[in-house]
């Protein structure tokens, strides 16, 4: 599904590189959580995968153009922006050139948010907003779902609902999931693989390997 070879990146275009010869292979149907310390360039890696940034060198190959993206909520969302849930989903569908507006109802119903169809985005709680952004990412039936810290700023109950829904999409619909995580438990409970970014490189573990690694490190 995704092959990254010898990826090098820095925001200045010069050394020191924040991603340095990073290699990563993700197979179809996997659920990969990307972990790493603050500033380890996890979100930067996501933006490179999405072509929002250009690498200095290296290659990123994705074998689908059906990609759903859920950005880090606190980073992007302006609660003062006057837009309803329906309006936001409609402009997304139009950008995907999909004419059937009924799939908006289905996407909202699937995530339990149909009652909020005509609510203002700014009037909703953090968890509700995140669910709407996930519903948006799922319009157009993506094969790859990329999330950047989906539980940031969200209460525990909503976090559980969101993770179980993402897991459901991965297991029952075979959607490949790449999720930047600061939530270690969510990563261990849901992922098929864990990718740790350290010193600009990616180390990939199975969940069992990473659990043992944590035990040895006494975390």
């Amino acid at each position: 599904m995704l092959i990254i070879n010898n990826l090098i990146f820095s925001y200045t275009g010069r050394k020191p590189y924040i991603l340095n010869n990073l290699n990563l292979h993700i197979n179809e149907g996997e659920y990969v959580s990307i972990l790493g310390e603050n500033g380890s360039a996890k979100s930067t890696l996501i933006k490179l995968i999405l072509s929002l940034l250009k690498p200095i060198s290296g290659s990123i190959k994705i074998n689908t153009d059906k990609i759903g993206y859920v950005a880090q909520r606190v980073e992007n969302f302006n609660t003062q922006f006057p837009i309803t849930v329906y309006e936001m989903l409609k402009i997304h569908l139009k950008s995907l050139k999909i004419k059937d507006m009924k799939c908006i109802d289905k996407a909202l119903d699937d995530i339990g948010m149909l009652n909020y169809k005509y609510s203002l985005m700014g009037d909703m709680s953090g968890g509700q907003i995140q669910k709407i952004f996930i519903a948006r990412a799922l319009l157009g039936n993506p094969k790859l779902l990329i999330l950047d810290e989906p539980s940031t700023g969200i209460d525990i109950a909503s976090q559980d609902e969101i993770y179980s829904y993402i897991k459901h999409l991965n297991v029952h619909f075979g959607i490949t999931v790449i999720s930047v995580e600061h939530n270690l438990n969510a990563a261990l409970n849901n992922s098929t693989k864990i990718c740790v970014i350290k010193n600009g490189e990616a180390n990939v573990y199975t969940v069992d390997e990473y659990s043992r690694f944590l035990e040895v490190a006494n975390v």
């Binding site: 072509s51 929002l52 993206y69 006057p82 837009i83 309006e87 997304h92």
Partner: protein, 265 residues
């Protein structure tokens, strides 16, 4: 009043800009880039000065120079990502430098006040045709790009991931702002244009509704302010810029008042 051809010209031009200013303004305000209107009104001042000094139609020269400045602002955004307001200062300095140098050289024959404060009497048939052509083209482009503009304004990264060419959209939008400012200066005046881009939107945001309602309300409030301003300037014999500005403040105050009363009951 309606039997005078100058008043007919002013009303037709006023109708076009009362739709165009708030329509472009809605996106500009929500991008948190309201001051771009102010900067481009200074650019239009330089454009008018160039036209008057070198003997060309000042609205056309304002359109060309303002559009170039709008494109330059968009181009420089890549170089001053975290200091977007600094770009506006750079363009404003360049424009005001050109305008003051040319006008103070004494080579402008026309009354510069009519461009600063707006004018009903001086809207010629030629001006009207220019405003109509540029205004209608801008409205058509805006209608065609409406959904993409909302997406780019609300969530630039999301729009890019879903396949929208955000650079192209941003450049076209910059041109739309430039055009809006240059076609509006004849009626409203250079000093008032930027207010009319932002004030109707400020009033519409008070309604706390979705994008479509906010957008349409901005146009309705803009229409009320500009028409009220034009009629009152005719009756009190003043420049329309001032009365339009006052009417737009009045519209905002009325909307806030109605909202307060609505909440109280």
């Amino acid at each position: 009043m309606f039997e005078y051809s100058f008043m007919q010209n002013a009303l037709i031009a006023g109708l076009i800009i009362s739709i165009l200013c708030p329509a472009v303004g809605a996106f500009l305000v929500l991008k948190r880039y309201s001051m771009m209107g102010d900067t481009l009104s200074h650019a239009s001042f330089a454009g008018v000065a160039i036209g008057l000094v070198f003997g060309y139609n000042p609205i056309i020269t304002a359109f060309i120079f303002t559009s170039l400045c709008a494109l330059l602002i968009e181009f420089l955004r890549d170089y001053f990502k975290k200091y977007a307001e600094l770009i506006l200062v750079i363009i404003m300095t360049l424009s005001i430098g050109i305008a003051i140098t040319l006008i103070s050289s004494g080579k402008t024959n026309a009354n510069i006040n009519s461009f600063l404060f707006g004018s009903i009497l001086t809207v010629t048939k030629n001006d009207l045709v220019t405003v109509l052509v540029l205004g209608v083209i801008s409205l058509i482009v805006l209608a065609l790009l409406y959904n993409k503009l909302i997406y780019v304004t609300f969530d630039e990264d999301g729009a890019k991931v879903s396949g929208i060419k955000i650079k192209l959209i941003n450049y076209i939008f910059a041109l739309l702002v430039g055009t809006t400012v240059s076609v509006s200066i004849r009626i409203m005046g250079i000093l008032v244009v930027s207010s009319m881009i932002a004030m109707p939107v400020a009033a519409a945001l008070q309604l706390h509704k979705g994008f479509n309602v906010t957008f349409i309300s901005s146009i309705v409030f803009g229409f009320i302010a500009i028409m009220t301003g034009l009629f009152s300037s005719y009756y009190i014999n003043s420049a329309p810029g001032g009365t339009i500005a006052l009417a737009s403040v009045a519209v905002l105050l009325v909307v806030i008042l109605i909202k307060k009363i609505g909440k109280a009951y």
